[in-house]
């Protein structure tokens, strides 16, 4: 036990896809495109995410038969059907648990979970936080459109207070989750956010997520043009630069037109300041590798349901042994030097105390 405790925080030295076989030849997006007709609504943000992922996957250079996409229920969860990999469209909220079974048993698989705000944060909230704390080798992509689309327009756990929907004609009184704060609270080792329409930013976040060993949690803001159209428009329109705060590890956090805004420390937290009113050394330099989760948590608090200052990029990327690696390590040690063959099984069944009845 003490040996295990001493391993906490120790880097096992494994790359994200250490055991996944490499493809023999370069791949293209069409190699990851299945023969299934894509059936999202016209204008759905899922299309651009699908295109980004199909274009990104060849970059990993992994055999596609060693990739497994698992989803739950909801519009986003149709995703696996459209990728020419192994896939499972499972049941509502449970994808992380199914992915855990896959990841534990098969280190040679690259396991991806595709989920939505209702799937991951309402019905599947429990599985999400436990996958994050265990740090199982999987990449969780949460498409957040802040609405229930497939059930035709009820508010979700990320809908803003006051949201008028079919189920909340007088406005929602539910306080929403801050997705990033939730993941950080569960001690996720990789937490990032991207915007569906920002192909470059999204791909960069996916790249880093795929390189991370353990659970990578990526929230992707995505529009539902039918039931929540334009919900992220403030992050896309002309004055979006006032709100969009891109972060890169090792770089000072400045944003806005001509970098006029920046992030500075403020007591135990952070705040946005005018760059010309602070001295340069007071501007926070983004440190995604900080062991201290409070910094990343403070970052997540800069943007709330009003999307006032919305951080995009990798909030946190730290190394911690993943659950499945440790399980396999224990399995290996239990199996090393000890036979598990028929003779050993016969010995197990026979046990220590027997008696014989002669015929």
């Amino acid at each position: 036990m003490t040996e295990l405790i001493s391993r906490v925080g120790v880097d096992l030295g494994l790359s994200a896809t250490a055991f996944v076989p490499r493809a023999d030849a370069p791949q293209k997006a069409k190699d990851f495109t299945s023969d299934q007709e894509v059936r999202w609504c016209p204008g759905c943000g899922d299309y651009v995410i699908l295109a980004a992922i199909r274009n990104f996957l060849p970059e990993l250079g992994l055999r596609r038969e060693n990739m497994m996409f698992v989803s739950g229920i909801g519009c986003s969860s149709r995703f696996p059907y459209y990728l020419e990999t192994y896939g499972l469209h499972s049941i509502h909220g449970r994808a992380p648990s199914i992915a855990t079974g896959l990841a534990v048993m098969r280190p040679d698989l690259s396991v991806w979970v595709v989920t939505g705000d209702g799937d991951a944060l309402s019905i599947g909230g429990n599985h999400l936080i436990h996958a994050l704390r265990r740090n199982v080798n999987m990449n969780i992509l949460l498409f957040n459109n802040r609405i229930y689309g497939l059930t035709k327009g009820q508010y979700s756990p990320t809908s803003e207070v006051g949201k008028v929907t079919k189920s909340t004609p007088m406005g929602s009184v539910d306080h929403p989750f801050n997705t990033m704060s939730l993941a950080l609270g569960a001690e996720a080792t990789f937490v990032a956010r991207a915007l569906d329409s920002d192909r470059k930013g999204l791909t960069e976040v996916l790249r880093q997520a795929a390189e991370h060993r353990g659970t990578s949690f990526v929230e992707i803001y995505q529009d539902c043009p039918i039931f929540n159209d334009g919900s992220f428009d403030v992050l896309r329109k002309d004055d979006a630069e006032q709100r969009v705060v891109p972060v890169r590890h090792g770089e000072p956090i400045v944003f806005g037109a001509d970098g006029r805004k920046c992030v500075v420390r403020d007591g135990f937290g952070l705040r946005v300041a005018d760059t010309d009113t602070v001295s340069p050394e007071d501007i926070v330099v983004h440190d995604a590798h900080s062991d201290d989760p409070e910094y990343a948590f403070a970052l997540s608090r800069l943007s709330d349901q009003d999307l006032e200052h919305t951080i995009f990029g990798v909030f946190r990327a730290v190394r911690r042994p993943s659950y499945d690696d440790l399980v396999r390590e224990q399995n290996d040690s239990a199996r090393t030097g000890r036979a598990g063959d028929g003779k050993a099984l016969q010995e197990l069944l026979t046990g220590a105390d027997t008696w014989t009845v002669s015929g």
Binding site: Y86, L102, L345, T354, W355
Partner: protein
């Protein structure tokens, strides 16, 4: 030292009872091990409270362990104990009514203090007031004798008192001329890190033995010869251990890694505890965050090409329903173990019941058939687990294995099977195609079994997507076609209906019985024993224990129709009988018991008599009318609480 007689007995039923902290389960286990190594046939039945430590000395805190040992083949732990070992007044009060007239009580007098007596409502000391005059009472100050015995080991008074269960074990071991060679090894291993405690317990054990031998309290000791069982090498085994071993064997036979996803729940947790010890056999265990995640991970493991197993009890099975439906839809192997307990809701966590049969058969949305199999005894849990895995893998289906609290914790001798003689299980996964570009058809079924081909991730060229949405037969693409759904619902049902299960075998030595008793699962013991008793006095009766509950044996309808009267004893309100009545239009009469306790053989015998006299139906109905009258009486008298 007086001369002590030795009397031969064919069998004896002993019940050890004490406070839940008194170590009665351990005492019973050791007495069982002695009997097993000696070569008796035996059966055991523990009974313990749900509370880990209920208030000391109270009735709810009583824990007991019953064992029957015999020189012949027996089927149950016995109806009533011949001997009760009562470590305190609560244990006496809770159990004494079960003793027959002339039964033996051995009590620890040290605990019969005024305070302890009043705790359980004794106004006078039953050891002194003549209320036990129908019984043979042996009173021994076990606590103080133990304290004295452990002194040389340098143990405290408290530790001495804690070893009183070993004193009781020593005394009973002497009384029944048990072999004692194993106890020393056992204690030295159990307390390997506390040699002082091991020594103290051994001293207490010897003190108990010597107390029997040197005091004049006991005029007789008893001998129970070895039982004449079928030739072979035997060991003692509990149902949960046998079930875990069966899963390990299934791993070996199939060559698949075994993955148990589970969440702790009484009385199933011991399966996890056992399996996790055997990781060297390709076993991985996962304690999930909840019941749903447990089955979810097992499903993921099955998809990955392992054998996914989840274990639980009734409340957990309810939570897993939707996920089991996903395994039905995706047609993957999955073994779901339900160690049944009293329900509904939290119910009676540590007590037994068979009331999850309909949940197992039907407790999912949609037409969602699964195979259901129920072991009939502790040792049978091994074979049932192997059988469940074989069906799951062969037919690509969830299999529900219905054990229950009685056989999970009960134990009996097990003739150890030969691993080499077991039939391998062929997973038959698809291999990479030789011709590329032909899409894999995950629902192109095997003509004989209707099972679908399985291609596991990592197999090039067979990439495909599964899911809970209805699939087109053959291609496995999403399909909302009315005709396809109709086809798939019927095919999934036909696949389960077509599972190859053995014909029902009726036990009817006379071949002339007109009364058939149908049971399932753990009632095998009491029903079998009741039939033997009935036959000994000349009553012709046939017994059928159904092991495969879905699909049912193909000859079952013919069997049921060939008897004038069919009765079905169950620890529920008649679930099997309603299934069989609906299926075969045979007027099967239920015999119901829902007390959290297994049937006694005598209760089944009474049901046999009532069935033959034509009064069974009325008797069954009276169970409800009596309950209603009871409620009415309590409402009218304002006396809602049951008297202690």
């Amino acid at each position: 030292m007086t001369k002590v007689d030795k009397t031969k007995l064919e069998r004896v039923v002993i019940r050890f009872a004490g406070d839940s902290g008194d170590g009665m389960q351990l005492t019973g286990d050791r007495f069982t091990a002695e009997a097993a190594v000696f070569g008796n046939d035996l059966a055991t039945q523990p009974n313990f409270p749900a509370e880990i430590r209920a208030p000391q000395g109270t009735l709810p805190g009583v824990s007991s362990f019953q064992i029957q040992i015999a020189d012949h083949d027996i089927l149950t732990a016995g109806d009533r104990p011949h001997v009760l070992v009562a470590m305190n007044p609560a244990a006496l009060k809770a159990n004494v009514a079960d003793l027959p007239r002339g039964g033996t009580v051995i009590v620890n007098t040290d605990e019969f203090t005024k305070r302890n007596l009043s705790k359980v409502g004794y106004t006078s000391n039953p050891l002194e007031d003549g209320s036990l005059s129908d019984l043979v009472v042996h009173a021994a100050p076990m606590s103080s004798l133990s304290v004295g015995a452990v002194e040389p080991a340098g143990l405290s008074r408290k530790d001495g008192e804690r070893s009183k269960n070993m004193f009781a074990l020593g005394l009973l071991s002497w009384m029944y001329n048990r072999p004692v060679s194993g106890i020393e090894d056992f204690l030295r291993t159990k307390f390997a890190k506390k040699p002082q405690v091991a020594e103290g317990n051994l001293l207490a054990f010897r003190a108990g033995w010597n107390y029997g031998e040197t005091t004049e309290t006991f005029a007789t000791t008893y001998e129970i010869e070895k039982a004449d069982l079928p030739a072979g090498t035997y060991r003692q085994i509990s149902g949960n251990t046998a079930l875990a071993y069966g899963l390990v064997a299934a791993q070996h036979l199939s060559g698949l890694e075994l993955f148990l996803g589970t969440y702790p729940i009484t009385p199933a947790s011991d399966i996890l505890h056992e399996l996790t010890k055997h990781r060297r056999f390709g076993v991985t265990t996962f304690q999930a965050e909840d019941e749903i995640a447990a089955v979810g991970a097992a499903i993921g493991a099955s998809l990955s090409g392992a054998l996914g197993v989840t274990s639980t009890s009734g409340p957990g099975l309810a939570l897993k329903s939707e996920a089991i439906g996903l395994a039905v839809m995706t047609e993957i192997p999955l073994v779901v173990v339900d160690v049944q307990r009293g329900g509904p809701s939290t119910g009676l966590p540590t007590k037994t019941e068979q009331a999850d049969l309909l949940q197992a058969l039907h407790g999912r949305n949609g037409e969602s058939p699964v195979a259901v199999i129920a072991p009939s005894s502790p040792a049978d849990c091994f074979d049932a687990a192997v059988e469940a895995a074989r069906i799951a893998v062969t037919y690509r289906t969830p299999v529900l294995l219905l054990s229950d609290g009685a056989i999970a914790n009960g134990s009996e001798p097990w003739r150890i099977p030969s691993v080499d003689a077991m039939t391998p299980i062929d997973p038959g996964f698809e291999s990479a195609p030789t011709v590329s570009g032909v899409p894999f058809r995950p629902y192109a079924r095997d003509r004989e079994t209707l099972a679908r081909p399985m291609a596991i991730p990592g197999t090039p060229g067979l990439e495909h997507r599964l899911g809970g949405i209805e699939k087109a037969n053959g291609s496995g693409n999403i399909s909302y076609e009315p005709a396809n759904h109709d086809l798939m619902v019927r095919l999934r049902q036909a696949k389960i209906d077509g599972i190859d299960v053995p014909d029902a075998l009726v036990d009817d030595p006379s071949g002339e019985a007109e009364l058939l008793i149908v049971g399932w699962g753990s009632s095998y013991g009491p029903i079998g024993e009741a039939c033997r008793r009935a036959r000994r006095r000349g009553t012709k009766v046939a017994h059928l224990q159904i092991r495969h509950l879905n699909p049912l044996p193909k000859n079952l309808g013919d069997v049921l129709r060939s008897y004038r009267t069919v009765i079905a004893p169950e620890m529920n309100l008649g679930q099997l009988s309603s299934v069989l009545r609906a299926r075969f239009l045979v007027d099967i009469q239920p015999v119901t018991k829902v007390q959290g306790l297994a049937f006694l053989a005598d209760e089944i015998l009474d049901a046999i008599d009532a069935a033959l006299a034509g009064t069974l139906r009325g008797w069954e109905e009276s169970k409800t009318t009596t309950a209603l009258a009871e409620a009415e009486y309590r409402a009218s008298t304002g006396c809602e609480e049951e008297n202690a």
